[in-house]
């Protein structure tokens, strides 16, 4: 039997081969990542940010990106830090080393990430998400928890035509299938 530490099952493995590429909007599952839920009052959070060298966004519902790492402000005292899995442990350690009341919790496996990108990405998301995703209302760098169909997601516009979706792992196949349903008409 394979080494259990190495034998991992991606939350979307059940869907098999993955999504057919399409001109309108491409859907893909993103690789595993390190995810930290950081909770603290903003002053403490700022100190943590300085210590880990990842500036936190000050505005609500905005993401800061530095290299392969990103910080998403999801609430007044809540940030989601995302980084490559290899860097995850150090990120957590640095964050935990910071003095002051805060909560740093590893949620790497809680969620999985999808990406939908292309000129019709907004339309595909619009089949299930009630937010206004016009570039003026939801600009690049905006991120928020919201609903996609009946599943809660974190939606982050990482580029003009590219959205990253963070979703709790057991909801991932549902979200994936919703987006596939929404993409279908754009293959014509």
């Amino acid at each position: 039997m394979a080494d259990p530490a190495a034998a991992r099952v991606h939350p979307l493995a059940v869907l098999g081969a993955g999504s057919m590429p399409g001109a309108g909007a491409t859907l893909r599952a993103l690789p595993p990542a390190c995810r930290i839920s950081l909770r603290a009052d903003p002053q403490v959070a700022a100190a943590i940010a300085a210590a880990i060298g990842l500036p936190l966004p000050e505005a609500m519902c905005r993401a800061n990106v530095l290299g392969a790492r990103a910080a998403l402000r999801l609430g007044p005292d809540e940030w989601l830090l995302i980084g490559p899995e290899a860097a995850g442990e150090s990120l957590a350690r640095v964050a935990m080393a910071v003095p002051g009341p805060a909560s740093v919790v590893d949620v790497s496996h809680r969620s999985t990430a999808l990406e939908i990108a292309g000129p019709r990405a907004v339309a595909v998301l619009g089949a299930f998400c009630a937010l206004d995703l016009d570039a003026a209302a939801f600009p690049v760098g905006m991120c928020t928890r919201t609903l996609l169909g009946k599943a809660e997601i974190v939606l982050w516009r990482s580029a003009a035509e590219c959205f990253r979706i963070e979703v709790w792992r057991s909801f991932a196949p549902y979200v994936w299938n919703c987006l596939e349903e929404g993409r279908l008409e754009f293959f014509i």
């Binding site: 099952v9 009630a130 014509i188």
Partner: protein, 995 residues
Amino acid sequence: MSGAFRTASGGRIDRTQPILFGFDGRAMTGFRGDTLASALLANGVHLVGRSFKYHRPRGIVAAGSEEPNALVTVDRGGGRLTPNLRATQLELRRDLKATSQNRFPSLDFDIGAVNNLFSPLFSAGFYYKTFMWPASFWKHVYEPLIRSAAGLGRAPTEPDPDRYLHRYAHCDVLVIGAGPAGLAAALAAAETGARVILCDEQSEPGGSLLAETEARIEGRPAAEWAAGVARALAGQDRVTVLPRTTAFGWFPDNLIGLAERVTDHQDRPDPRLPRERLWQVRAREVVIAAGAIERPLVFPGNDRPGVMLADAGRIYANRYGVRVGDRAVIATAGDSGYRAALALLGAGATIAAIADLREDPAGAAVEAARQAGIAIRPGTAIAGSRGGHRVTEASLRRIGGSDRVERLDCDVLLMSGGFTPAVHMFSQSRGRLRFDAALQAFLPGKSAARERSAGACNGRFDLEGCLDEGFTAGAAAAKAAGCGSPRTRRFARAGAVPAPGGFLGAVPGTGKGKAFVDFQNDVTAKDLQLATREGFRSIEHVKRYTTTGMATDQGKTSNMNALAIVAGALDRPIPEVGLTTFRMPYTPVTFGTIAGASRGMLFDPLRHTPIHDWASEHGAVFEDVGNWKRARYFPRSGEDMHQAVARECTAVRMAAGMFDASTLGKIEVVGPDAATFLERMYTNAWARLAPGRLRYGLMLNEAGFIMDDGVIARLAPDRFHVTTTTGGAPGVLNHMEDYLQTEFTDLKVWLTSITEQYAVIAVQGPRAREIIAPLVEGIDLSPAAMPHMSVQTGQICGVATRLFRVSFTGELGFEINVPADHGRAVWEAVLQAGAAYGIVPYGTEAMHVLRAEKGYIIVGQETDGTVTPADAGLDWAIGKAKKDFVGKRSLSRPDIVAPGRKQLVGLLTHSPQEVLEEGAQLVADPHAEIPMRMIGHVTSSYHSAALGRSIALALVADGRSLLGQTLYVPMPDRMIAVTLVAPVFYDQEGRRLDG
């Protein structure tokens, strides 16, 4: 070839594309661009259905969505059956197969038509009057009769194989209706750069312009202008033009529901397209340009096939190239009749006469008719019609003259009572209507939402006025949405200007015979008068008593006539009688549109644990727990559930079992005040719980009732790993956040859901320690280092773990938490390591039995929201020294401390193999009179393999004082005797926890 009544030229149909279609099994031909209605009329078919109540033959009345009669069922094959489609909106496509409704066995010969002879029975309020007595008749006679006869069309019985989709959209300006006012509004708004959505229920934008033959706008024929404008709009980035899209409902904060018919008009739709799409449009501003609906005249026999709205006759001629008859009589209250007469004349028909209710008709349209040599009868009312399945004769009577009638042969009778502004959407937006005495119409008054009306729905009936008002409204809407202003624009226009004019109510001299007001609901003028004689005063009551204006029609053609008749009968002015509420949907919306993609796999998220696929591959039978699928038991070949569960339970008691507990809710509580917070949220004491130890936690709501429970681990002074029930997880987190954010705001502590971060594998049984020992690194499993109710972190199978020593079975047990991606691999490793010891996977059913043997409660099974800790025998979990916790104050309320509360006990049936039904009631005296006094109920009941007999848990009034006594469970055929015992059946000393 496409019908004897097709004109030689003209119309917007494509004469190069003939289309074969079927109606009631008869093959006919039409053209691309036809509706089913226009194609039928081109073939001389007027009779298309039977009426709802009297089964009277009915024909096509209108040319648009207001059609009350021509409802058909379309079968697209393979279960694609849609009833109640309006033939006037149904675009012709190849092989369209439509059937008429409300008839049996055939349209020409209908048994139900006998209702017509018994029509006195079906007068106003007939349901209420007829089916009242005797009571027993209701169930056996009346209801089956009504059910078999009633209803519009028949619901399909097969699953709908089509796809449906929703779309949320946002815009600055939504324009409802793409007639002249709507197109002008969209032009104005689009010019400012606003995000614009323009929707229209018809197959192409243009509205009334599509049937316009004379008017020119900006130098072009009106229809051509409309097409050009629509094309230009659709080409703009920020404009969405939606034909075949009905704005059907207005919801709070300017959310408008649009139903788009995406594929029904296509010959061979691409299966990747949704059949219909529900748009939920959040619009900053809305321009309503919904047009107006022509009113029928109310006279005896006005429902005969061949009696149509005048403007419909004109539209069929001008837009579809169809002559609705060869010889027409026209009854009108305004210019519409004249315009129709000229259009029909142009289409090759003879006009027998125009009867005009006005004494001195004048104006351009009247003059044109006169010039064309049409006989005009001023001050003349239509008195009646004759004919069977088609009108053959119209009779006219001079108003105020003798009773002498003029009878004229005809095969079509066109009528116009004037136009009613379509204020439906305005009314749905909760705007207040005002009555315009000059127009004799209700018009939009005070707004309640961010909208404005323009054009005919606002009482502007002339083309120039519609264009200007539309443009102004579009500009104002864009400005209000913060988008700036367009350049001013005047629409140069040429052509005839129709004069308004109209008539409300039953035409003068209407005497005997059925004069219909509401064709769809079969309501006559007499029904309305009868209702007022019987004492109904409110128009809302009259509506419900007579059913006028109800159902799918929503009174489009009937409301104003009904109102005028009621006002007349009550001798009160129309605005005092008021108007009934317009309800959504404007026209019917399919269930498919409303459901959208929420069907089958996408109906609800189906949550699977990281170990689900293994369980599925190994034959697990699953059960639904909330949205989760949980393995209920793992039958081996030939086993039923009972046998599988007994085997799984025995393995846990004798060797070891493993259980997927991943669905348990998990919350990481972190911060310097974490212990203080838990002190307040749970009944137990937490401050002195040492890091590395676990404690059972009991959560109450503020009323003192058990809300949830779970084991809580203290990982560090400021860090707890809280577990909750599977179903309670979201509610517990919400409850905690509520208190944290709004009551205990001084505490520095944060809550993070980690339910899905960890896969949880429970290994339970006397061999549990031996099984996991070789897999664990960095954790001392010895009883001294890791006693019952402790936690350690380390590695298992090379994966980081939070290892709990805990038991929900009464056996030595561990719960292995590992990051979810590794769950399956660790599960398989444990299974392999345990094989030599006889480990088996067990499911939720065995879990339930094992915990019941130990008397452990399950929240939601032993509790129902009215059970206190004392009721459940959990007083021991209350920190007596604590000053406060949520629910504490309630535990001393009089009702909570009063005697007689139901308490948790165990039950043993006198006959050991009898398994009680969960939910069964308990009584003290089996011979008591019925209804017996019920003193308790069974909450859990199983066969216990370990005990070789049945066991049950129950809540019984003062149960703990009744231990040893016999109670009874009454069943339909017998009494089951049970003895009350303490609710722990197995290993009462708890020795097995240490293996």
